[in-house]
Amino acid sequence: MMQFMLLFSRQGKLRLQKWYVAHQDKMKKKITRELVTLVLSRKPKMCSFLEWKDLKVVYKRYASLYFCCAIEHEDNELLTLEIIHRYVELLDKYFGSVCELDIIFNFEKAYFMLDELLLGGEVQETSKKNVLKAIAAQDLLQEEEALETALTEYGLT
């Protein structure tokens, strides 16, 4: 089971965090800090797996963004790497060649997508199409509502 997922930039700025286990805020901050430093200190040619405390850390860098997952000891590292990849694919498909800024400014979308992909740290929907469909449906709802609100604001309804 995945314990948490972190997205951070090359400068070490956190872009997204999702925790599947309950930790106190202080603990979360500590873990994040340690892990970010650790991952950033690694050279590009090194392997993407780390054994960190009693967890395994799988990270991958896409452009300026690091995707970093902590998994339990018996989980499959290669598979986790692919989960990350799938997530990036999804983001890419949705935003159209995703960049760090997309995630910064649309990070709720990134969260929604992650939520569709993983539930409670386990892969739930592996089909790219299905995930995107779910997000699209949600967008549609939001759009309608936005229109409605706009109309109400201008007194047109």
Binding site: K13, L14, R15, L16, K18, W19, Y20, A22, Q24, D25, K29, R42, K43, K45, M46, C47, S48, F49, L50, E51, W52, K53, D54, N76, E77, L78, L79, L81, E82, H85, R86, I104, F105, N106, F107, E108, K109, Y111, F112, D115, L119, G120, E122, V123, Q124, E125, T126, S127, K129, N130, Q138, D139, L141, Q142, E143, E145, A146, T149, A150, E153
Partner: protein, 947 residues
């Protein structure tokens, strides 16, 4: 100045935009306000600025969130999530998030749930606010609401509130839509993880979901099954077949293409199922056996093109390595692992090393093929790879390389700063020390080094296991007194040293307390002050202090010190500042001294239990079974148990049939081999020969030139490579040494052969040759014919002789022989490679029998030196070497035949030693192996004539 204006901007704009209706941007989910907030945070020059900006923003949100519209609310809350992410406390937002989740509007509700998930923990009390919403959502008729409710409640339900919504979630298992069922199953899986017993009564229903018609639901149910297997594997045997059939269906592409990823069908589920199967197979041997062809098929069927397929292969290999696989499957696994290891991708390589660690745990000889790689990885700049490789080293530890492995582990202990890793290293070192009964002095030394280096991280449990180790090895009744003395010596040393770390002191005082009779010859006041001087040490914890007091008590009770001396010393101690409890026990001790209460050990223990004689005879007369001591029981049941004495991996007696069940070399004791070493040394006492090779390596270097010139012609190696090769030979010496032969019987044999070759100049002692020839004469004649018949076995024996001579050398310390030796090694390795390609099996069929008799009891350094010379002389040789191991590792059948007739062994030896000398010149240049064989044969016949 500019800084200030920037920090003002976001607030200004934020409010402005926040209060105005969302612009067209809101369709994309972001408002202008959010964007500006993020931008200004981004622009902040320093932490202080950032704090200012964020705090101001939070203040604004706090004041206006109460009467914000829906869209605004969402926007505010996302800002809070962002603030929270960059490390600010936004607790006030939680309640708003919960409120938002309860709204009717699906977007609001969804956002609310999402935000609640991000802002709250399962353990927070505020999640109680959401319970009502959950209940409403999961029983709703709206599909969307149910889905949202399920995913949120799986994340946010506290353990104690699960019962309130459990029924609702369970009823969703029968929902008509597969998405709902899937989410419900995953949600229940979460609950199971939180409270395993809670769903016991509905376990049946949950497991039935495995047979759901929708693959997605079925995939989710595999989690449930996995959990059930983890809890009680015996109960879950029935799922084995179902899982196998599911996996077969998936891997034969029977699932909809929707479930394919990179054209690999349902990889996630495949991995998950293999994991379940692994767990089941661990419990059930017969099931594991039935899995064998299946696993092989998966390995064959899975492509190697896609990354995701490799993860299936990886999982599959892990499964294979954990179920005691038969030889053929293990070989398939080894080939696959090779693919990983040799990959240029760092990730694959890492996985490869990891798998190799598992593989060598099953059968250490597979490590051979990767000597170079392993040695290189030890210095990999990536500490992670380094660590993995050290773990691998730990797995391949045997009697021969234990010193080197320990040294490597200690280097890690010294250099690494990672607490987790260091404590892991300490555990490994302790295990090694427990397993291998090497030199006692060395062991004691290591134990205390371990304590010293790991002072800051050693915990009580580790300390305890260390004490158990010492107790087992040194203190049990009948323990070797020499060992005890060594230990006591070291402990006294530790106590005398002022800078000893606390953990060492703890162990040392404890040991001395237990073994205090050994201190009897020391002056009283010295003994006492040994302990009391540490009593006032503030760094020591209470446990160590009480250890000291116990030791003092022991001194008195066992009559080691005079009571009066003790009383005066204790009185001195009582003046100092000590914890009250310690003082208390000291005064008790004072009382003991006063009355001179000691336990005198009479020494007249009836060890043979004569008082039971009548009883035993009566019983025997009535037909009872005679008592067989435990150490003899094994012998009667397993006549081939003797190889257990011999160290090393190749000769492991577990090699019965084709399987390698236990894998780990856990040989009991090395003491017998020690004995032989001593004996062989005593046999070969030749006063005229100068001692050049000591246990620690070479004592004198001058006569080495001969060897060096020959190697110089080919060697173009850097220092680094040489160093690595030295290490490799040190580490893998153990594997090779297992091929070595019975030193005692065939000692010095090689000198005879070297004489027949043109190496007379290297040979220093003629007398020695004579004696040796005498000893080998007998054996050589018998086996001569057989050997001539079979060229291949000839070569095999050459190898053995070469190695034998090795051992011989290290014990006899003959200068000249060493060169012969190394040459031999290179020869055999080359000739080996040349032949082994086609005929692996027969080639080593005989050879491994020898391994059974191997005794490796010499200091590793001797071997290191020898071997590394042989190796470093030529790169090709190195390859040949590894190829040799390769072929040998393929061969394992011969290994079991431990009870081989010794005379045959000897004769083969005799013959081969002859051949080797003849073949030397040929092989040195690395020319054809066939010629080589002919050469050998002719040599052999010459030899015949000579005799």
């Amino acid at each position: 100045m500019s800084n200030k204006s920037f920090s003002v901007l976001p607030k200004f704009f934020g409010n402005l935009v926040g209060t105005s209706p969302p612009t067209e941007k809101s369709i994309e989910g972001i408002s202008r306000g959010f964007e500006l907030f993020v931008q200004s945070v981004h622009r902040a020059k320093n932490k202080y600025d950032e704090q200012q900006i964020v705090n101001r923003e939070l203040q604004t949100i706090k004041s206006s969130i109460g009467d914000a519209s829906q869209a605004q609310m969402r926007d505010y809350l996302w800002r809070l999530v962002y603030a929270r992410m960059i490390g600010y406390d936004v607790e006030f937002g939680c309640i708003e998030g919960a409120k938002l989740a309860g709204r009717m509007d699906p977007i609001d509700s969804k956002t609310g749930f999402m935000i609640s998930c991000l802002l709250m923990n399962r353990t927070d009390e505020i999640t109680l606010l959401l319970m009502c919403t959950f209940q409403k959502n999961i029983t709703s008729s709206n599909l969307l609401e149910i889905l949202m409710g399920l995913s949120a409640c799986s994340q946010l339900t506290a353990v104690h509130s699960i019962p309130y919504i459990l029924d609702g979630v369970l009823s969703n298992l029968k929902h008509s839509r597969e998405l709902v069922r899937q989410k419900a199953v995953l949600c229940l899986h979460q609950f199971q993880l939180l409270a395993p017993d809670l769903l016991e009564h509905r376990q049946e229903d949950l497991e039935r979901m495995l047979y759901d018609k929708d693959p997605g639901v079925m995939a989710a149910a595999v989690h449930i099954i996995q959990h059930a297997i983890e809890r009680d594997p015996t109960r879950c045997q029935r799922f084995g077949e179902t899982l196998v059939s599911i996996l077969t269906q998936i891997s034969s592409h029977k699932m909809a293409s929707m479930f394919e990823y990179q054209s690999v069908p349902f990889p996630w589920l495949q991995v998950q199922i293999i994991k379940c199967l692994t767990k089941l197979a661990k419990q059930d041997e017969s099931f594991a056996a039935s899995l064998v062809p299946f696993l092989k098929e998966i390995l064959q069927r899975t492509s190697r093109k896609e990354m995701i397929a490799l993860s299936i292969v990886y999982e599959c290999l892990q499964c294979i390595l954990s179920i005691n696989p038969p030889k053929h499957l293990l070989d398939v696994a080894a080939v696959n692992i090779r693919g990983f290891i040799l990959s240029s991708n760092a990730n694959m390589k890492f996985i490869g090393v990891k798998l190799l660690t598992m593989l060598v745990r099953v059968n250490p000889k597979y490590a051979f093929d990767y000597q170079q790689l392993i040695v290189q990885s030890l210095d990999n700049p990536d500490t992670n790879v380094q660590r993995k490789t050290h773990k691998l080293l730990y797995e391949i530890t045997n009697e021969t390389n234990v010193t080197t492995v320990c040294a490597k582990l200690f280097t890690q202990l010294q250099t690494s700063s990672d607490k987790f890793w260091r404590s892991e290293v300490i555990t490994m070192v302790l295990n090694i020390l427990e397993r291998y009964d090497g030199d006692v002095g060395w062991r004691v030394e290591r134990l205390f080094t371990c304590l010293q280096l790991g002072n800051d991280i050693i915990e009580d449990t580790t300390l305890k296991s260390m004490m158990c180790l010492i107790e087992e090895k040194f203190m049990l009744y009948g323990a070797d007194e020499r060992r005890q003395k060594l230990l006591v010596q070291k402990c006294v040393e530790v106590l005398v040293n002022k800078n000893s770390p606390t953990t060492s002191l703890h162990i040392a005082t404890w040991v001395l307390g237990e073994l205090c009779p050994i201190l009897k010859n020391m002056p009283d006041d010295k003994v006492i002050s040994l302990f009391t001087r540490h009593l006032g040490n503030e760094k020591l914890g209470y446990s160590t202090q009480s250890c000291i007091v116990t030791a003092l008590q022991n001194l008195v009770i066992k009559g080691v010190v005079n009571c009066d001396n003790m009383s005066t010393k204790i009185n001195e101690c009582l003046m100092e500042q000590l914890p009250i409890v310690i003082k208390q026990s000291l005064s008790v001790l004072l009382g003991v001294c006063k009355y001179g209460l000691t336990i005198t050990f009479s020494g007249n223990i009836d060890t043979t239990l004569t008082f039971l004689d009548d009883l035993v005879t009566d019983d025997l007369e009535q037909g009872g079974k005679a008592y067989i001591p435990p150490h003899l029981r094994g012998v009667t049941s397993e006549p081939e148990a003797s190889p257990g004495l011999f160290s090393g991996v190749m000769s492991e007696p577990t090699g019965q049939d084709d399987t390698y069940s236990s894998g780990r070399p856990r040989t009991e004791s090395n003491s017998s081999s020690m004995k032989t070493a001593e004996e062989s040394e005593s046999v070969l006492k030749v006063p005229s020969v100068k001692r050049v090779w000591g246990k620690q390596g070479r004592l004198d270097i001058s006569p080495k030139t001969n060897m060096e010139t020959s190697s110089l012609t080919t060697s173009v190696q850097t220092e680094e490579e040489k160093r690595q090769q030295e290490l490799a030979s040190a580490l893998f010496g153990g594997f090779q040494s297992t091929e070595e032969n019975d030193v005692e019987e065939l000692s010095g044999f090689l000198s005879g052969s070297s004489d027949t070759a043109n190496w007379r100049n290297l040979h220093t002692s003629a007398t020695r040759t004579n004696t040796i020839e005498q000893s080998t004469e007998q054996s050589t004649c018998i086996g001569q014919q057989d050997l001539c018949n079979d060229k291949i076995s000839d070569i095999e024996t050459v190898k053995n002789t070469a190695q034998d001579s090795f051992t011989d050398n290290s014990s006899s310390c003959d200068t000249g022989l060493l060169h012969v030796d190394t040459e031999h090694i290179s020869i055999f390795s080359e000739s080996e490679t040349l032949v082994q390609v086609e005929q692996k099996e027969p080639l080593f069929g005989n050879g491994n029998n020898f391994g059974e008799n191997s005794l490796d009891c010499f200091d590793i350094k001797d071997r290191v030196d020898d071997k590394d010379k042989a190796i470093s002389s030529d790169n090709d040789l190195e390859q040949a070497f590894s190829a040799l191991f390769d072929s040998r590792s393929n061969e394992s059948k011969g290994m079991q035949a431990s009870g081989v007739d010794k005379s045959i062994v000897q004769t083969e030896f005799g013959a081969s030693s002859e051949q080797i000398t003849g073949s030397r010149e040929n092989t040195e240049n690395g020319i054809g192996g066939v010629d080589n064989n002919n050469e050998l044969r002719t040599n052999n016949s010459i030899y015949d004539e000579t005799w």
